[in-house]
Structures are given as C-alpha cells and as structure tokens.
C-alpha cells in the first residue's frame, strides 16, 4: 500500500516537472545572447549599461580574440573560474563557510580519542603502491588548484584529491593518524587569508574581494590577478578540511 502511494506521489511530481519543461528553452537550443552569460564570456560585465539591458537593448559584444590578449576586466582563461572566484567570490566565501561548518559538525559528532582499527593487515600491494603513488597524488592535487584559472578544476577538486591522498595513507597504515593540530591550524589560517584578501580588496579598490592585482595576459600562468592566489588558499583549506573529516571518521571513543 505504501509503495503504491509512493509511486503515485512520485509519478505526480514527475508529471508536474515534465509539464514545467514546456516553459524553458529546449535542450541544446539556448541562445547565449539572451543571457548575462555572454558578458561573463566576453569579460565586459562592468561596461554593460544595466538600465538599457532591462529595457531590451541587449548590447551583445562583437566577436573578438581573448586568448593571449590583455586588458580585460578579468584575466582568467577558464570562464567558470572567473565567475566563481572573481565575479561571485562572495558566494564562494559563503560556500567555504558552509564546508567549514559541516567539517566542524562532523568533528563534534564523531570526535574520539583512539584511532579505529580495521582488524586486518593492509595488503602488500596497497602498502608498496602507496609509497609510490602518494607524492604523485599530492602533486596532482597541487597542480589542479594552481592551474585553476587555466584548465578545468580549481581549489575544490584539488583539495579533494589531496584528501584522497590522506585517505590512502589511512587505508595503508594501521598506525597512521593525522596531526589534527597541523590540519586545523592550516584550515583556519587559510580561511582567514581568504577574508584578508577580501579586506585588502576593500581597502585598495573599494569593494570586498576586489581584484587588486594586475590581470596579465589571458592564458599565462601568472595572470588573472588575485584568482590563482584565492584558489590556492581554497585548495589548501578544502584539502586540510576534508583530510580532517577523513581523520575524524577514523576516530572512535574509548570503551
């Protein structure tokens, strides 16, 4: 009976959402010139006259070369990164805060004093291959968040890869346990560094999280102003935070 009821409710909701599909543009048939995203792509958001935009004058930017040029208001080759840590950096600060809150919550709920044992010896292949792979995994994580403004990726995936390296250490060694003082202090200092970047922007440019460094040539490693720095702090913060979560999952209470 309950299953029937659940199927009815689920099917009703699915039908409602399918009916709603008619009001949005069909899949793959989107015209970016109707959306603000065109200006994010063309890196000319500040030059748009908002009152004209609202009244229907779309001010579509003309075709132009971006890669290898300089002088744009944002210098990162990856447009998603430019939105996440430049145009909407305040959102990202909130997101990092949510992640911090959840890490604190996991620590509060699962906190223990003793490292949990798996009750079996780690496999020989696991132990040996950890020694070979661990530096490579950490290097890959650092690569991802340092090149966040050039390639797909950024602080969050890079930090997750670093946390995966810590998980590998936990799996391959029964004695290993993460130094919580180091991870917590790294996490806290990186979180405050992000806010400090924002305050420097407020002092220099008059807006919180203002991009106060020169943008450089789009596509080179040292470009995009404050974006790589912010992504490095986010990468280290997320890495230490998720490593802390992995460590807290492996703790248990006495008795």
């Amino acid at each position: 009976m309950r299953r029937l009821y659940a199927i009815l409710v689920g099917a009703g909701l699915v039908y409602m959402l399918f009916a709603f599909l008619g009001t949005i543009s069909p899949y793959g048939n989107v015209n970016l010139s109707d959306r603000v995203s065109a200006h994010f792509l063309a890196k000319d958001v500040n030059s748009v006259d908002a009152s004209k935009w609202v009244s229907g004058d779309k001010q579509i930017p003309s075709k132009m070369k971006v890669f290898g040029k300089k002088g744009f208001e944002d210098g990162s080759a990856n447009v998603v990164t430019s939105i996440v840590v430049n145009y909407r950096s305040f959102d990202t600060l909130g997101e990092v805060t949510v992640l911090f809150a959840s890490a604190v919550g996991v620590g509060l709920i699962l906190g223990g004093t003793r490292r949990m044992r798996y009750g079996r010896k780690p496999n020989f292949i696991l132990r040996v291959s950890t020694g070979i792979l661990l530096p490579l995994i950490i290097l890959f994580g650092v690569y991802i968040f340092v090149h966040g403004h050039l390639t797909p990726g950024g602080g969050f995936p890079g930090g997750t890869v670093i946390a995966a390296a810590v998980l590998l250490l936990y799996l391959s060694n029964e004695e290993f346990s993460l130094n919580m003082v180091v991870s917590k202090s790294l996490e806290g200092s990186m979180g405050s560094l992000y806010v400090i970047f924002g305050l420097i922007g407020l002092a220099v440019g008059g807006a919180f999280l203002f991009n106060f460094l020169p943008n450089g040539v789009v596509g080179s490693l040292f470009s995009a102003g404050v974006v790589p720095l912010v992504y490095m702090t986010i990468g280290l913060k997320v890495g230490s935070e998720l490593s802390g979560v992995v460590a807290e999952i492996h703790e248990e209470r006495e008795g």
Binding site: R2, R3, Y5, A6, I7, V9, G10, A11, L13, V14, L17, F18, L21, I24, Y27, G28, N29, V30, N31, L32, S33, R35, V36, S37, A38, F40, L41, A42, I60, K63, M64, K65, V66, F67, G68, A77, N78, V79, V80, I83, V84, D91, T92, E95, V98, L99, A101, S102, G105, V106, I109, L110, L150, T151, P152, F156, V218, G219, V238, V245
Partner: protein, 114 residues
Amino acid sequence: MVYAISIILIGIGIYGLMTQKNLFKHLISLSIIDTAVNIFIIATGYVEGGKAPIYTKSLPNFAIGKFVDPLPQALVLTAIVIGVGTLAVGASLLVRIREKHSSIDVENMKGVEE
C-alpha cells in the same frame, strides 16, 4: 532527453524517501535528488555543439554559440560542495544513531518511542 533523465532521477529519489525504512537509504535518496537537480541545472546551459567555456590555443576567440553557458556550471560547483557537506554530517549522525539504538532501520531501533 537529459531533462527527462534528471526528472526521472528526482522521481526515483522521492520514491526511495517514501518507501525505505533504512535511514542510510534515505540519505542516498537525498543524494540522488541532489545529483539530479545538478544535472538539470547543467543541462539548462548546454548549447548545441558548444565547447567547455575555457579559452585555449585552439579556441582563442569569443563568439556566441561556440561555448556552453558558464553560469550554471559555476552554480553547480557550489551546490556539489554543499551536497558533500550535508552528506558528511548526515552520515556521521547515522554512525551515532547506530551506536545508541543498535540499528539504523526505523523499525528495529531500540529505545525509540513511536
């Protein structure tokens, strides 16, 4: 098509939430709905034949219709991280419930009044 897949996934998640008695399956159902909504938001930004919105040597020019919409991707990047956070907190709560009530099945929990 992708819209249909994400809506059906939402339906599966709702069904799981309403029928399952295991709390971990509730968490997985919520996670499925989360993923389905993310797929939907990403799909609203797809442009036919568009590439990832990254300027490279082979795609150096800005032009309408060449890149997919970057804004939904940036929003989903935020949503994924928050999904991970809620999943971690929920799973750790389940560990404590299992310790206190000896089960995470709603019908087998000990010391819980209806």
